[in-house]
Symmetry: C2
Subunit: 243 residues, 2 copies
């Protein structure tokens, strides 16, 4: 008998060309499918909730696949963790209802971006240090306008498969502790480079090159040219996917 | 004119064969001396407060050296950070009194060891996940006996240059937060592998293979054979050096 599996995955994106399988590149999906193929003795295509880019990390990526129910769930988790490389860990394995699809069924995704005020040696893979001072209060004030339903064309890379670029942001949260600043954003869905362009633009606000009102005007303009640069991938984490 | 410099350094030990210069190996001291040599136009031997081993990290290693006072301190810091590899950062540069020696003048050193209850992908370079459950309360109870002046032969690797193996531990502190457990120990000085053997043995207590009374008996025996295994280097951090 086959069943549908739901995996929660953590990975360090530093040495991956992102989530999605592509010939010749080391990707999380390809590593996972290779190991599942060995475990189940045949090809096992996997669906991921979020297609993280090169260098982006995940604390709670969700993946689904169909395969035989010949092993207990705990055995599957142990076997996967024994076979997977150290930069991917399976956090949990569950049975999902038939037809469950990790991408299409996701109702909310939570991303975190980590900024550091100081240059880091320890943990430099997991934070971006902009080479300027930045005012988090100004950035937090500017980010208030992100909540709600918007068209995100100012804050994403064009995608030939996309036409509406609409999504609702449920919450935006800031946390500062010593030299570390964490930005967390929850939305129904995210577009390509969205969090990284938001952060790149919010840092412009933080360093005083843009006001919160300018920032809102960028959002309303829908014009990518008016937004800031794309922040580096290593500060970004897919934290959680909700269903 | 020459002056004595005091640097505070952070480094990610993952890709270093430790602090100390040795032919053919990538070490923190060798990288730092190479860059200082370029900056000051001649050899600049450096003294480090703690000789961290291969794979051990530092948040606040202290190094001293003598060199010309031709650059302002801020310029030295900026130049060093521009020239050093990304896994070493200079946190501060100060002038010290003549004759200051980062190793001999140190009065206390603070080390941290980070344990994780869960296997990690993100941050696996910075914590050890023992493959067993462990009871932190038992470990903390056992570690109380470490405070004070002791001979540490049970908890260190033999060192031909050492004869007394005596040092005073000022404090021992535990902190648990989600799946992460942090152990912090302050002492006048530490011997080779001391914190790692302490942790390896405390994990034996944590998993119930040893009682706190057994642990104290190991300390009193002075016998390395009675202690546990040496914990891996990647969970260890030289946090701070006091003068």
């Amino acid at each position: 008998m086959n069943r549908t599996y739901k995996l929660v995955l953590e990975y360090d994106g530093s040495d991956f060309h992102g989530w999605q399988r592509q010939p010749g590149d080391r990707t999380v999906q390809a590593e996972l499918e290779a190991v599942l193929g060995r475990l189940f003795g045949g090809p096992v295509p996997v669906i991921g909730a979020g297609r993280t880019d090169t260098g982006v990390h995940a604390l709670g990526q969700v993946a689904s696949f169909r395969a035989e129910d010949k092993h207990p769930l705990e055995t599957v988790q142990r076997a996967l963790n024994a076979m997977l490389p150290a930069d991917i860990r399976v956090r949990s394995v569950e049975t999902a209802e038939d037809g469950f699809n990790a991408r299409r069924r996701a109702s909310r995704r939570v991303y975190r971006y980590v900024l550091s005020r100081a240059p880091l040696a320890v943990g430099r893979q997991y934070a971006w240090h902009p080479r300027c001072r930045f005012d988090v209060d100004a950035m937090a004030a500017a980010s208030e306008c992100l909540k709600g339903l918007h068209r995100w064309t100012a804050f994403c890379k064009r995608d030939p498969e996309e036409d509406r670029y609409e999504s609702e942001v449920h919450s935006v949260r800031w946390e500062a502790e010593a030299d570390t600043v964490r930005f967390e954003i929850t939305a129904v869905r995210f577009f390509h480079h969205m969090v990284r362009i938001l952060i790149g633009t919010l840092v412009e606000v933080g360093k005083g090159a843009m006001t919160p009102a300018d920032f809102r005007a960028v959002l309303e303009s829908g014009d990518r040219e008016k937004a800031g640069p794309t922040a580096p991938p290593n500060g970004l984490f897919l934290v959680r996917v909700e269903y």
